[in-house]
């Protein structure tokens, strides 16, 4: 489709460079304006927006491993928690700036990812998922028991990133992080590395025989995904201001996993797109049916089951079949942009 770059106008070029479709950019703009529009400018709704954007960013990075190389990183939130704790401890004990702390969190998580990757790389699919899960359990256990370092289940107080009661700056920072994460992941999939990831995810033996070294690519994929998780963990710590081992719990990983898979495996954008309406629906159900605790999660489990049985490609597949195949030129431009393989 995108055969000659010269014919593109600068706007399309920019879109192509950032891997957005016009619709994607439009929705991003909507998200950016949202905190100023009346119903959404209340603090609790901004908090919802932040948790949605957080899940969305996590889902992108999670899908980077799960969708591309077909390995479920079942300890993902524990790795995120590792980043959070690293950052929090460095900031609180050594007086580091929170920004550097977030970076350090990313580095620690990347190191952990390297270790898990090195160990699981010989194992396949579900084995690797289990091992990552055990790592996660061990990390969570450590966070609970090393009370002198993490204050355990009592929770650790952390300075917030911005010294203001408002949540708006956090929201914009997170939105920017989400965009950067998306563009980074998308860029990587465009290089020959991305092609290798897909090959490994679809058929590892075939990839190996065609000269792709699965070990190297799997580990690098894992490390990148974990590093993003670590930075996000740092954000989490410095946003909520309190850190307990609960954030490393398996159920948190399940939440990210559900959003990523309902959004559509391998699409990267699907999880991010679905996260906002999804989190809002969940929060609405929870607050309006507060006498039925857990109903929102029951519905969400049922949704995951339904999607997996009847529509395993998730929202992205649905979108691709029903919207992108449109004959209307204007709509097609809106949905596909100039290069059809982008958001």
């Amino acid at each position: 489709m995108n055969n000659s770059t010269q014919t593109l106008n600068p706007f399309d070029k920019l879109l192509d460079l950032t891997c957005f479709t016009p619709l994607g950019l439009l929705s991003l703009l909507v998200l950016a304006i949202l905190p100023m529009v009346p119903p959404f400018n209340q603090e609790y709704l901004i908090r919802w927006l932040i948790s949605a954007a957080f899940i969305a960013s996590m889902a992108i990075a999670f899908d980077f491993t799960a969708g591309l190389i077909n390995i479920v990183n079942f300890g993902y939130c524990a790795i995120m928690g590792l980043g959070a704790y690293t950052s929090a401890i460095l900031v609180e004990r050594l007086g580091l700036s929170p920004w550097l702390g977030m970076l350090a969190g990313g580095l620690a998580a990347a190191g952990m990812g390297l270790m898990i990757g090195m160990i699981t790389l010989r194992l396949r699919g579900i084995f690797a998922a289990c091992l990552a899960w055990f790592f996660g359990l061990a990390l969570m256990g450590l966070a609970t028991k090393l009370v002198w370092l993490t204050r355990g289940p009592m929770g650790m107080r952390v300075d917030r990133l911005f010294d203001t009661p408002s949540n708006v700056p956090f929201y914009y920072l997170l939105l920017a992080m989400m965009v950067i994460i998306y563009i980074t992941c998308k860029w990587v999939t465009r290089t020959h590395m991305g092609v290798a990831f897909m090959a490994i995810g679809q058929n590892m033996e075939a990839a190996r025989t065609s000269g792709i070294d699965p070990v190297f690519y799997r580990v690098s994929n894992f490390v990148l995904s974990c590093a993003i998780g670590g930075v996000l963990g740092g954000f989490y710590a410095h946003y909520y201001g309190i850190l307990t081992p609960d954030i490393m719990h398996t159920s948190k990983t399940v939440e990210v996993l559900a959003v990523a898979y309902i959004g559509g495996r391998g699409s990267l954008w699907g999880g991010a797109a679905i996260a906002f309406p999804f989190i809002f629906a969940m929060e609405l159900i929870r607050s309006s049916l507060s006498d039925l605790p857990g109903i929102n999660l029951v519905l969400y489990g049922l949704l995951l089951i339904m999607v997996m049985i009847y529509y395993p490609g998730g929202f992205a597949q649905f979108f691709n079949t029903y919207f992108r195949q449109t004959g209307n030129k204007m709509a097609s431009y809106l949905f596909n942009g100039v290069a059809a393989d982008t958001k």
Binding site: G301, L304, P312
Partner: protein, 345 residues
């Protein structure tokens, strides 16, 4: 008959490689040493936990080996067992309270276990019919991963369904049998522990007998070893898959009800037995049912020793790290795997 079983048992043991033998010996030696060091209750705890863990992990190994499903919702069937146990036993205790000389004083707990088993089996059948059969009809490509995600969804539904309908509080019982502890040598064992131990031993023995000597049990093993071969000899797949699912869920539910006196029922009670069972199954080699029984005792010992010598809470950390270490050096598990298909995507 007994000799036949014994002979076949030793044949099975000999089939394992030397690593399995060594680890069994190490387990026994460590268990004895710890017993001498700290007292007999360690051994009792290990055996009770191990026996019940064996029920859960046999079921998990079975779903993996026969249905090729990496079950993440297996702990939720344990939870169902605790729930059924709680309600049934409370009803029985209320009856016994007004009729103290009724024979239910003795038979009540067993009735509870049987009720949990039946409900667990029914839950398994419903799960298979409503969820896995639907997926199987639609597509079998990327089956392991899709089935895994389905079980994740199922687990979320069951855990929160429990909270929705039964509340999030602890629902426990004082004990199945009242009365003084039994003393063997100078170790005191509560009657409930003896009861749990007997239940576990009986169920494991029955299950093993069923799998080895009955036509249906052999058919289940045949399906796990070669699905096409099973079809060729005339085994109906759908029936066997449903039976296996209900069997493995019933086993988990029995364990749940059997341990109710130690672990009260609450929504996420299933997580711990789940990951313990996964430890066992991975350690034993995916889908290896007999290996799972032996590894259950090893993992139980590991847990008991960790709590005893390092402190409670560390039982998350130490066994995980040890198992990761073992897997680094022996990825196919101690006992080797009966099912290679599970490892392939």
């Amino acid at each position: 008959m007994f000799q036949m079983i014994q002979k076949s048992f030793w044949e099975q043991v000999r089939k394992f490689n030397s690593l399995a033998g060594i680890s069994i010996i190490i387990t026994i030696v460590v268990a004895l040493a710890a017993t001498i060091d700290r007292g007999g209750y360690l051994l009792v705890n290990t055996i009770v936990t191990g026996g019940m863990l064996a029920l859960v992990s046999m079921g998990l190994a079975l779903t993996l080996g026969v249905l090729n499903i990496p079950m993440f919702a297996h702990g939720e069937f344990f939870m169902i067992g605790t729930l059924v146990g709680y309600y049934v036993f409370n009803a029985i205790s209320a009856y016994v309270g007004s009729h103290p000389e009724s024979s239910l004083v003795f038979w009540g707990p067993m009735l509870t276990i049987v009720a949990a088993m039946i409900i667990g089996a029914v839950a398994g059948v419903i799960t298979e019919l409503l969820i896995f059969r639907q997926l199987r009809k639609r597509s079998r490509e990327n089956w392991v991963m899709n089935a895994f995600l389905l079980t994740v969804g199922l687990s979320v539904v069951l855990v929160n369904g429990h909270q929705l309908f039964f509340g999030a509080d602890f629902k426990g019982i004082v004990g199945y049998y009242s009365g003084p502890s039994l003393a063997i040598m100078d170790v005191y064992i509560s009657r409930d522990r003896v009861f749990a131990l007997i239940v576990a031993a009986v169920v494991v023995a029955l299950f093993w007998f069923f799998m080895t000597y009955t036509r249906t049990g052999r058919a289940i093993r045949a399906v796990s070893q070669d699905e096409t071969g099973a079809l060729i000899v005339g085994i109906g797949l759908n029936g066997i898959l449903m039976l296996t699912m209900s069997l493995s869920c019933a086993l988990a539910a029995i364990a749940g009800a059997g341990l109710l006196f130690m672990y009260p029922s609450y929504p996420s009670i299933g997580l711990e037995p789940l990951y313990m069972a996964w430890f066992v199954v991975i350690l034993a080699g995916l889908g290896n049912v007999l290996g799972a029984v032996m590894c259950s005792f090893m993992v139980a010992l590991l847990k008991v020793l960790t709590i005893e010598y390092i402190g409670s809470g560390w039982d998350f950390v130490v066994p995980s790290i040890l198992i990761i270490l073992i897997l680094i050096f022996k990825p196919s598990g101690i006992f080797g795997s009966e099912v290679r298909g599970v490892l392939d995507k």
